[in-house]
Amino acid sequence: MTELEFPFDSEYIIKKRKSIKRTLLADGSKRLKKKIAVFGGSTTNDIVVYLDLFLLNNGIEAEFYQSEYAQYWQDAMFPSEELLSFKPDIVFIHTTNRNISAYPCVSDSKESVNQLLDSEYGKFQQMWQKIAETYHCPIIQNNFELPFYRLMGNKDCSDYRGRTNFINRLNSKFYDYADKTEGFYINDINFISASYGLKEWSDPSYWNMYKYAMCVDAIPEFSFNLANIIKSVFGKNKKALALDLDNTLWGGVVGDDGVDGIQIGQETGVSQSYYEFQSYIKSLKDLGIILTVCSKNDHENAVAGLEHPEGALKPDDFIIIKANWENKDRNITEIASELNILPDSIVFVDDNPAERGIVQAQIPGVSVPVMDSVENYIINLDRNGYFEVTNFSEDDLKRNEMYKANAERAAQQATFADYKDYLLSLDMVAVIDDFLPVYLQRITQLSNKSNQFNVTTKRYTATEMEEVFESGEYIRLYGKLIDKFGDNGVVSVVIGKKDGDVLNMDLWLMSCRVLKRDMELAMLDRLVERCKEQGIKTIRGYYYPTAKNGMVKDLYGRFGFEKISEDENGNTVWQLDTSSYQNQNHVIKVEDNTSIK
């Protein structure tokens, strides 16, 4: 809902909170259900009211627990029965500089201020550890906003006796803890209060009358910022940008003005603004956000514009460039399917309100930030928190590299006359063996997101996969593939259930990252080897057609299985005799779990 996206109108949200909630709940969308415990050091009611709205807008329906007024410490350290049975999925600690128990005095020595700092920090640290032990769930903790007055004036920030200095030091200690603790996040109210205006934010009448630690008008901004962390923790971040070109990535229309006529670079204020925006987008790419182009343009004009020598972005930075005269909603749907992501994980960036309107109407859940004027582009994208970082994994860093490596492989393929020579030149090494605990999460993830190279499309929850892992009734294989361009990670999973001397295949899937690499043959070789070791004479394969898995319709046929039945829905059953099987992979060197350290 646009009313709940940055830049939003707090006044409107405050006034219409009840009808907004009614509208959100009536939209019929399916939402994640989560429990959020709010431990407050001041009044939290309105914070929860707006947090609820922003989370609903991000696909999360939350149930809340709120401490009695200012009981955050008691609730954390001595949890009540009510709280224990509530079992929060996340704990938010709403403390502010109003909750600091003692500040330095002007007469204090350096040592005594250090002690004060340690004891203040100790109180919090003890609380965080207790919460982590009790609930085993993520914790969100406010840092501290700056004090609204400065006893020593400017010296307040540099003198150890200053409140400003004390708060900054305490914040640093919080950051060190956050840096080394998984599942612990800082809600940066120091930034938000500064951005809002510390003077208005800290209006003391709200504390003295209502025990709110900030002015009421600022609460929607506060809750919005907090909601971004929560939705990111629960996996609701966006994944890709679909960017318009003309008047979005540069000023002017490249088709009309020519490459030399567009505004980008250092020449004018306007061209500098576009350059700054391009640089921002390029940094998002480094965070692992996938960049694509969605522009009404001739393809060659689009590429020429991106090759402008003064631009920060280059055609190479984009995984997909859709520059044509099709409707944009259609291009975005195609981008989503080519990237194998859902359309609602795309953010569409376009200066044209008509295009934005169409895309918003046609693709439910897609985000369409207001891009009204180039000087606002960065802040309107940034503050919406589409890509809020909570867990920055190796995979994020490598995502664009992985796509890039795929492109390089494709380029090299062109130089080999014989496909087998090309495959051999990749120096592929696979690890194929029984599951290892360290890969279980990835294996489960693959079973839930692989749609195309997946013969049964059987989904497993983490618990179900654990059961398969611990049971003796299955033959399980995972496959990991490395080549000279990089490590593709775990890309294939095979599970078969034993029934006497027959193995019934429950699952055979592979990531489309490694299509046409003979990885499936290497998996089959290993499977047959394991079957023979365990006295399995027959492997029975099943194919259940879906809208997406047409590419493996004949997988078992290509493997050399014999088709034994087919029903009217296209479900097929295949069979292989293990005794006469000959290995089929000749291009990948295969290792086992002993190669994993």
Partner: protein, 80 residues
Amino acid sequence: MDTKTIYARLNKVFRDVFDDDSIVVKPNTTADDIDDWDSLEHITLINAVEREFKMKFKMGEISSMKNVGEMADIIASRAK
């Protein structure tokens, strides 16, 4: 600003805040007359009234106002 206009605009604010189109405020209306009007909603209400009339209540006024009539009197003396 005349009293009639003040009540008309106040009425709209009350209906928005309490999400109830049946509300009709009168000078003697108090928190007891409106279901959702508790101390927490009071904060939202004061805030919305201040925005509507582009004025601020003083701290002392907020705690001493007895009914909508007193609120309207303060508005009449200060609103732009």
